[in-house]
Symmetry: C2
Subunit: 274 residues, 2 copies
């Protein structure tokens, strides 16, 4: 499977935890990890390369150059890294048809092969729609994108690269940012939704992009069906959305002990098999 | 390492989870699991045998017979299984010097070799002292055992079998029960403390018998040092003490997600190694 990650140095530790959980819970899969970055040091990259190799997987890195987004508008509150996810197809081999983007604030706790094999047909992306009504309404207003049907979370994003090369036009993205730059809160996610929501095929959010903040709420509205037992057996991707992150002090979410245990496991060398 | 477990059919599932966590987090160790029981079916035993064998470890079972405790007094509120832990030496090979008893309501999250190799010298047991003052005072009064110095938890108990064969007299235990039968709440633990507390060497409770109920309290009294990061790296044995158990519905402790994840992993076949 091809996995895309885009990050800066601050996220290396969570990235390792995410990758460890991915490898551990998908033992019969081979992964090619593609890292798009601009600020990572050679030392960081070498460390990551060794880390990934020891589990039998491959790392490919691309340092995005200053000139790569020459036409991009400047906006104070976000960096060029925001474009990486949307324009990844520019930096990947033209032979590659499909890649799965994953945020680093994620734990993979079950197999994801089925997600990876999702039929994309004539869709640009597959993503999960975070189904909180308030979020939807707020975003609809904020973005003034009346054509927008859904609000997709861009943390887990299966990409139809072949189609993106044909349909995504860099200039459209820049024009959109220029017009709405004061209203964009989560730039790449907002753009994804405003420009491409009709081209996104929806995946099960509870299975592949479980928002860990809403465990109690989700359990409640499902009449208790989506309890911890259910999540552990049915969710493949836990997404630690929001500002509070489980690798920081004073976090106290429901999945804290699980995350910290994975963090410890990822810091051990290798898997512990018999 | 020799591991002792004593249980009835109701605890088979937690036992599997405990064993999975033991094997997974002690990958370079070989385990001989000794099971003392009286009520398990052949089917249960066969299933457990296969389960343990697939990880390369061994299971030995002993069905305790009705006549094995003929001199024991009858007491309404506890079964004969309460004696198994205290009189295990009777049922194990005379060649065996040492065994580690483990409760099934436990998760092993780090190596335990150091615990197993604890110098016992002239002590009968090694155990952790659960250091809540109120518990200590209550128990001291309840048991009328004024010579009792500490209140040890019997859920993790390293046994000096060679010395036990010489020093533990079955009759003493029966006499004690006969005298205090109305005051015993946790029979085997109470007897252990009342009769043998002077013969117990103390092990680090936070390392080898971490009471999961007191995470917040422990963090508080340690000025934040014993936070989740600390527990994950320093505790080897998490003990889900108390009536509320993480395999039951509506449990909500701090280590719930971790336990349920291990439960799921234990239900998969084999380890997922690369």
């Amino acid at each position: 499977m091809n996995i895309l990650v885009t990050l800066n140095t601050n996220y290396i530790k969570p990235l390792r935890v995410m990758l460890w959980s991915l490898f551990f819970n998908n033992p019969d899969q081979h992964f090619n990890i593609y890292l798009l970055h601009s600020s990572m040091t050679d030392e960081d990259i070498d460390g990551l390369y060794l880390y990934i190799s020891q589990y039998g997987h491959k790392l490919f890195t691309t340092r995005v150059q200053a000139g790569d987004f020459d036409d991009a508008p400047l906006a104070l509150h976000y960096s060029k890294e925001m474009y990486y996810r949307l324009l990844a197809y520019k930096f990947l081999s033209v032979d590659m048809d499909r890649i799965l983007y994953l945020d680093p604030d994620i734990l993979i706790i079950n197999p994801i092969r089925e997600l990876y094999d999702t039929q994309l047909v004539n869709h640009l992306y597959a993503a999960a729609y975070h189904n909180a009504i308030s979020v939807k309404e707020i975003n609809r207003f904020r973005l003034r994108a009346y054509e927008m049907e859904e609000y997709y979370n861009s943390g887990v994003l299966l990409m139809n690269l072949a189609l993106q090369r044909k349909k995504i036009i860099e200039k459209d993205i820049y024009l959109y940012i220029d017009r709405y730059r004061n209203r964009l809160l989560l730039p790449d996610q907002d753009i994804l939704n405003a420009l491409y929501s009709k081209d996104i095929i929806r995946i099960d959010e509870f299975k592949y992009n479980y928002d860990t903040r809403y465990y109690h709420y989700t359990k409640l509205i499902s009449n208790g069906i989506m309890d911890m037992e259910y999540v552990m057996h049915n969710s493949a991707i836990l997404h630690f959305c929001g500002k509070k992150k489980p690798w920081k002090d004073h976090y106290s979410g429901v999945f804290y002990s699980l995350y910290k245990h994975y963090e410890m496991l990822a810091s051990r060398n290798g898997f512990h098999s018999v």
